[in-house]
């Protein structure tokens, strides 16, 4: 039996899933794809859109007010105390950096793994990466206390003969996060060029034509341009891949190079990376489900895509669960009473509520994704993705607050809760993130047009007689 016959036989049975599911539904032509996605940019701005934008912008504005208040008065307006010197500031920083991981994973690592389903989701995931890293930078700068002196973090020759402390992991953060931001932005922009050129040719308004024209850097779509483009894209994917691992590894070192029980443990780097991908996918899922519904992109973001993302969330959720268990096991195995005590305290102490929220959301809730029906149920995955977002925030909070709040001497024990200022700043970062995302969804092609065209049936060359494309 030839392969084609075999495929047909598989498809013939209605109870059988085909071996490879189609990634674009309704077999559109190349023109259809362009028209569908470009029409989002061309369509008129609706009242609903403006209203949503106003809500998110107000959130951002309120956050900026709280941020201004912090800068004006000082960090004393936060709930930080001795011994809990890090609270929501660093929790939110790590949270946002984590969110920023799915984009680069999808665009770089899945690209290197030739996962064709990435094409429908990479553009918006990368955009989220950039916006999330911006939020993270806001958090970490405000926590320095005197953010107007941020340039002291950079090693430059100066008349004060002041030099940064290269032995501090906080310093490494500056380099890691900035590198990540720069490369992610470049990667995103390079990927956008052919699509911006498409828009340049498509839009009617003169202003829009000029703006997209400038941004598309004179892209002609010639064979030569494509050749260079593909090489640049591949190189950037190669550079971004180690960055996906390095950024959160460096962030984890903020904790692990210290000798605090609960912070200092060797598994932290890969554990943080897995957690970051986990939380990043959850955030991409939450927003993508809304985008898919509102902009009606079900043709491109199919249930197969969502299914795959749910699988990744299940897998990374289990990795995070593995790390939790390793920490617990080794805390017991090490025979170190401090280690043991910190972990018992985490699970049963003052912050037990945070710990169990984390475990329930991160380890227990994704387990429902073992069932295919649930992996393809939009309401369930929406709820679970929000659970995971919550759980991953609590993971960072648990690590930071529980390890700090009971110092070695009982005299220096404390409890930390945030003030309205910290909560407002956190709400504000959500405002910034969502506002930028809304603007992106309106003015930039939310789906990589040229890449989706590349996975349409028949677009890839096949060997010999196997001309009937199987997606």
């Amino acid at each position: 039996m030839t392969e084609v016959q075999e495929q047909q036989k598989l498809h013939a049975d209605p109870h059988d899933e085909p071996v490879r599911e189609a990634l674009v539904l309704g077999s559109p032509t190349l023109r259809d794809v362009t028209a569908r996605i470009a029409s989002i940019v061309e369509s008129k701005i609706t009242a609903k859109y403006l209203l949503t934008l106003m809500v998110t912008a107000s959130m951002a504005g309120w956050g900026l007010v709280a941020l201004g208040y912090t800068i004006f008065v000082g960090i004393g307006v936060w709930g930080l105390n001795n011994p809990v010197g890090w609270g929501w500031d660093i929790t939110n920083f790590v949270f946002w950096i984590g969110i920023g991981h799915a984009g680069t994973l999808i665009s770089a690592i899945l690209y290197l793994f030739r996962q064709k389903w990435r094409t429908a989701i990479n553009r918006s995931a990368e955009a989220m990466t950039i916006f999330a890293v911006l939020c993270a930078m806001t958090m970490v700068l405000s926590h320095t206390g005197r953010p107007w002196l941020f340039y002291w973090l950079l090693p430059y020759p100066n008349q004060m003969q002041m030099w940064v402390n290269f032995r501090s992991p906080l310093m490494w953060d500056v380099f890691a996060v900035n590198t990540y931001f720069t490369v992610s932005l470049m990667f995103w922009f390079i990927g956008l060029i052919p699509d911006l050129a498409t828009l340049r040719n498509y839009v009617k308004s003169k202003i829009a034509k000029t703006v997209y024209g400038i941004l598309s850097l004179g892209w002609t779509g010639s064979n030569r341009s494509w050749h260079h483009y593909e090489i640049a894209y591949m190189i950037l994917a190669g550079i971004s891949t180690p960055l996906v691992l390095s950024v959160h590894s460096v962030v984890s070192m903020d904790f692990t190079v210290g000798i605090m029980p609960g912070w200092h443990t060797t598994i932290f780097p890969p554990y943080f990376v897995a957690g970051a991908i986990f939380s990043g996918f959850a955030m991409v899922m939450t927003l993508l489900l809304i985008v898919r519904e509102v902009l009606d992109l079900k043709q491109f973001i199919t249930l197969k895509h969502l299914d795959n993302m749910n699988r990744i969330m299940l897998a990374t959720g289990m990795m995070v669960g593995y790390a939790y268990s390793m920490e617990m096991f080794i805390a017991w195995y090490s025979g170190n009473p401090w280690e043991k005590w910190v972990f018992i305290n985490r699970a049963f102490g003052d912050y037990a509520w945070a710990y169990w929220t984390m475990v329930t959301c991160n380890v227990v809730s994704p387990q429902v994704f073992w069932f295919k029906k649930i992996r393809r149920s939009i309401p369930v995955m929406f709820v679970i993705s929000i659970f995971i977002n919550i759980g991953m925030w609590f993971e960072r909070f648990t690590i930071i607050a529980t390890s700090l709040h009971h110092d070695f001497l009982p005299a220096s024990w404390g409890y930390y809760s945030p003030t309205w200022v910290e909560i407002s700043i956190f709400v504000g970062t959500f405002g910034i993130f969502l506002t930028l995302f809304l603007l992106f969804a309106k003015f930039v092609p939310v789906i990589a047009i040229s890449e989706v065209k590349g996975i349409l049936p028949g677009s890839q060359p096949k060997h010999g007689s196997h001309t009937e494309g199987h997606a």
Partner: protein, 403 residues
């Protein structure tokens, strides 16, 4: 399509001969170590060879499970090669028996099994986990789990050969690969705690499972690449293997030798920076007494050399470069495990009988013995079944894809 049985080809016959020779050589070497080097060193070398090849065999199962889990198309034509190198899995318990025997002797390489452990405060605290009964039970559990994994995954994979039109066996593997991956992750972690980490029972690292996994995985890919190249060079399976498979195996070798470096560096760096006595003891000991040279070799051979050799795109499609990469990686994996096991046992041996040792030819003996076993059991599999999963629904995709 018809089954591709390579059992009677000259390559497999040669493998069998080499396998026998290695077993004889290794056994003689081990005997020589037993007589001249003392029991501790003998068991250390035995453990080194045993875990090198058991780790690879079990990881080959994981590789197969991973291909099913991700519905990978590219790897179908080389997947059976991985499945054939799992021959040691049913016999792990048998080969582990000497290590368990050793636990009860005065020359035990595991300090926690000594009588003196009863007076060591920390070892008493850990005795709930580190005791002989529980150790044996755990090894037994790993053996059962791995055997179950072998029967299920490879069993279904082979069943698929006989009937290409009914893909029920492949479906079963697609469906159940994920739980087996979890079984693998937990068993390889705890087994590496038991066999390796507990050689220095005062020391601990949460990274240990990930660290040993990274080594086994890149070593398994290297074995897979070497065997695929040998088959190809012998003129076999040429209609199934293309330069695409070589390219992909090369990419995985490159990626995971870097992954190993990432994990190894993170573990070292965190322990070095924090400088807590109970943790640094592990590296402190290995940075002196002539052990340090092997640490430096590891940096170069497990990371720098494979990185440079395999970085370029075109070399991953050139067999001689791939062979060089794979040999470097396998050498590094050996040094890695030796750097874990031998210094620890030398410390124990010094305490037992006052005899300390450094690396020497002796360390190769266990490896040679198990290399022979590993090859022979793979030969058995090549004789038994088709060398390509001819009934697999994704085989054509594997043969025809173009990256």
């Amino acid at each position: 399509m018809t089954s591709v049985n390579l059992g009677s080809t000259p390559l497999i016959a040669k493998m069998q001969k080499v396998g026998f020779a290695l077993i004889v050589l290794g056994a003689l070497g081990l005997a020589a170590v037993f007589i001249t080097g003392g029991q501790e060193r003998f068991f250390a070398d035995y453990l080194l060879g045993f875990w090198f090849f058991t780790g690879i065999s079990v990881t080959m199962l994981f590789f197969s499970a991973l291909q099913y889990l991700t519905r990978a198309g590219w790897s179908v034509s080389v997947r059976r090669t991985a499945e054939n190198f799992t021959g040691m899995v049913p016999y792990v318990a048998l080969f582990a028996a000497p290590i368990i025997y050793n636990l009860f002797s005065h020359h035990s390489i595991y300090e926690w099994s000594h009588e003196s452990a009863a007076t060591d405060h920390l070892l008493v605290a850990k005795s709930g986990y580190l005791n002989t009964t529980f150790f044996i039970v755990r090894i037994g559990i790993y053996c059962l789990l791995w055997f179950g994994m072998l029967r299920f995954l490879v069993g279904n994979s082979v069943k698929q050969d006989s009937n290409a039109s009914d893909i029920t066996p492949t479906r079963k593997n697609w469906k159940r690969a994920a739980p087996w991956v979890i079984v693998y992750a937990l068993s390889i972690t705890f087994c590496s705690f038991d066999l390796l980490m507990s050689l220095e029972p005062h020391w601990f690292s949460t990274m240990w499972g990930v660290y040993t996994f990274a080594g086994h995985f890149v070593a398994s890919i290297s074995v897979l690449a070497l065997m695929t190249i040998w088959l190809y060079k012998a003129g076999l399976l040429r209609q199934y293997i293309t330069s695409e498979q070589f390219h992909d195996l090369g990419k995985l070798m490159f990626a995971f030798s870097s992954f190993w470096a990432y994990i190894a560096f993170s573990q070292y760096f965190i322990i070095w920076y924090a400088n807590l006595p109970e943790e640094t003891i592990y590296f402190e000991f290995r940075m002196h007494n002539q052990w340090e040279i092997w640490g430096y070799i590891l940096i170069v051979s497990h990371f720098v050399a494979p990185f440079i050799v395999l970085l370029r795109q075109d070399v991953k499609r050139k067999m001689n470069f791939l062979i060089a990469g794979a040999v470097i990686v396998l050498f590094s994996h050996f040094v890695d495990l030796a750097w874990i096991i031998i210094p620890a046992v030398s410390k124990v041996a010094a305490a037992n009988s006052g005899e300390q040792f450094t690396m020497g030819w002796q360390e190769l003996t266990g490896w040679l013995f198990f290399a022979g076993v590993f090859l022979l059991l793979a030969v058995q599999n090549y004789k038994k079944r088709s060398a390509v999963p001819i009934g697999d629904p994704l085989l054509q995709e594997s043969v025809h894809y173009n990256s």
